[in-house]
């Protein structure tokens, strides 16, 4: 019990464990990561290539079971530099979250932009532009996890 101003405040921590089934699509997608490959799937009907790979097209509501290895290069659609930190956040600031349109795909892939100094927002603003070409940089050690890609770095 914490005393703040006039009345008590009860502090508590709620921690709840879950174990979430990956299912065939995530399993295969992350297997690809272990081999430094990014997979997408194509919708049978609208022919859009969606990445990450998924089992159905949200719009056509049909299966998207044609697997395609996707280019590891793409261009930045949008980005945001995060400067603040809070409890429960998996990535430490500063970091740049970005939407990236990987070449040959029809959706935007969400990941980080990095490989240069992020400490100065003005420098970041001058460096990162929408439409800029970027390429995936992989971590040496693979865990079958979205962070097996370390970040996307600008293509020189």
């Amino acid at each position: 019990m914490e005393k703040k101003s006039e009345y008590d405040i009860l502090t508590d921590k709620v921690a709840i464990p879950y174990e979430i089934a990956a299912g065939p699509t995530w399993t295969r997608f992350f297997e690809g990561f272990r081999q430094e490959k990014i997979y997408g799937t194509r919708c049978r009907k609208c022919k859009r290539v969606l990445v990450p790979a998924r089992s159905f097209c949200p719009r056509c509501f049909v299966d998207t079971d044609e697997w395609i290895e996707i280019s590891q290069e793409g261009s930045i659609v949008s980005w945001a530099l995060t400067e603040y930190e809070y409890y429960g956040m998996p990535t430490k600031p500063p970091f740049i979250g970005a939407l990236i349109r990987l070449d040959g795909t029809d959706s935007n892939f969400l990941h980080l932009i990095g490989g240069f100094d992020l400490s100065d927002p003005e420098f970041v603003r001058k460096t990162v532009k929408n439409g800029m070409k970027v390429r995936a940089v992989w971590n040496k050690e693979k865990k079958g996890h979205i962070m097996d890609i370390k970040y996307f770095e600008p293509v020189k």
């Binding site: 709620v14 709840i16 089934a21 065939p24 699509t25 949200p58």
Partner: protein, 380 residues
């Protein structure tokens, strides 16, 4: 009311743990019901789902996650939290308002990914009082059971009979989670969770993703030659603190009365042909018999002794095996409704009851010792 609301079709997943990803399951079930009804996603008017946040699924704002898997891309939709019969009634309201011709109702709960129900229901408590003394749904149920036995002389055998009946029925249900032939001794000899409550008298933790398609009268008649009609609904809420309530005089009577009044049911014992009730703890089915008017107060034990609620009895209860066999916490009300629908349509397969079903009852409850109840009546 301007129009009647018909249930066109249903689809659901079995209750046992599956290896499938959650989103794939939602997609498949949604697609299945649309395919059965022969309509396209584009023709769905509105999508109302039921799921709980983090506590029963690990995702906050639960319906954000499965919005597109549930067919709702660029649709008007909403979500009900906690009890899935709420989603059903909200969808009925939307059709009755004249704004939508069809509504897709989803119940979404993948229990296999969650921690035990007792851990999750512990967080229904207030932080200051009931949480500090460790309350959860099982503790509340055990306290309710003790009072019930003490007041009416309900016996352990009578409570155990509910398990024997329901798990027996579940053997015929391909969607049931727990499939085990048991007798009264098996139940009474199972672990004492909280005396007098036995482990086999407590519902398991199951998966349950269910999709139900509703339509206004003319559309329903076009989509199926066997529409099942919405007849009545009632729900009611009880006070929060367990100690402020009379655990043997709860809100189910009120919820049932509202549903019966709307459906024009005056003698439920005679007019309800089959009931799917939500009994997360075995003795509750006996107590609910009384509240639903299937027998007089205190007579729930005698009713099960008389075999009237067996598959071949006068008023079969839970031919599906009920919640004791399959307990997808949030979805269980809609599972009851889906089963009631199949009974009215005569499509319940091996678990179809033997007599003609004109009127069926589906019941959902959530909260400690039945804090909140919902009852729906459907018929042909």
């Amino acid at each position: 009311m301007a129009t009647r609301v018909g249930i066109v079709d249903i689809a659901m997943t079995p209750g046992a743990e599956s290896k499938d990803n959650f989103l794939d399951q939602v997609y498949k079930v949604t697609k299945e019901v649309l395919d059965k009804a022969g309509i396209k996603r584009a023709d769905v008017g509105t999508v109302i789902s039921a799921a709980s946040d983090v506590f029963h699924g690990g995702m906050s704002c639960a319906n954000s996650y499965y919005w597109d898997a549930g067919g709702a891309f660029l649709k008007n939709g909403s979500r009900q939290d906690g009890e899935s019969l709420f989603a059903f009634i909200y969808a009925v309201m939307r059709i009755l308002s004249g704004s939508f011709d069809t509504a897709l109702v989803l119940g979404v709960c993948k229990g296999s990914e969650n921690p035990e129900n007792d851990m999750l229901t512990h967080f229904f408590t207030d932080p200051f009082y009931q949480r500090q003394v460790g309350l959860n749904e099982t503790v509340a149920a055990a306290l309710q059971m003790r009072e019930y036995m003490d007041k009416y002389g309900i016996t352990g055998e009578q409570c155990a009979k509910v398990v024997v009946k329901n798990l027996g029925n579940a053997l015929r249900n391909p969607y049931a989670h727990i499939k085990k032939r048991v007798d009264v001794d098996d139940v009474l000899n199972s672990e004492t969770v909280l005396y007098p409550l036995k482990q086999m008298e407590c519902a398991p933790k199951s998966e349950g993703i269910v999709a139900i398609l509703l339509a206004k009268e003319d559309v329903a008649k076009r989509l199926t030659n066997k529409p099942v009609w919405f007849k009545g609904y009632g729900s009611s809420m009880d006070a929060f603190y367990l100690g402020d309530r009379d655990l043997l005089d709860g809100q189910l009577k009120q919820a049932a009365k509202r549903a019966y009044d709307m459906a024009g049911v005056s003698n439920p014992k005679k007019e309800i042909d089959v009931a799917e009730v939500c009994e997360p703890y075995a003795f509750q089915e006996l107590l609910w018999y009384e509240d639903l008017g299937f027998c007089a107060p205190g007579e729930g034990g005698k009713l099960i002794d008389s075999a009237a609620t067996n598959m071949d009895g006068n008023i079969p209860v839970n031919p599906s095996g009920g919640v004791l066999a399959t307990n997808p916490y949030v979805s269980r009300g809609l599972y009851r409704l889906a089963e009631a629908f199949l009974q009215v349509q005569g499509k319940a397969g091996e678990r179809q009851i033997d007599k003609k079903v004109n009127t069926a009852l589906a019941h959902g409850t959530h909260g400690f010792a039945g804090q909140c109840h919902a009852v729906a009546i459907i018929g042909n």
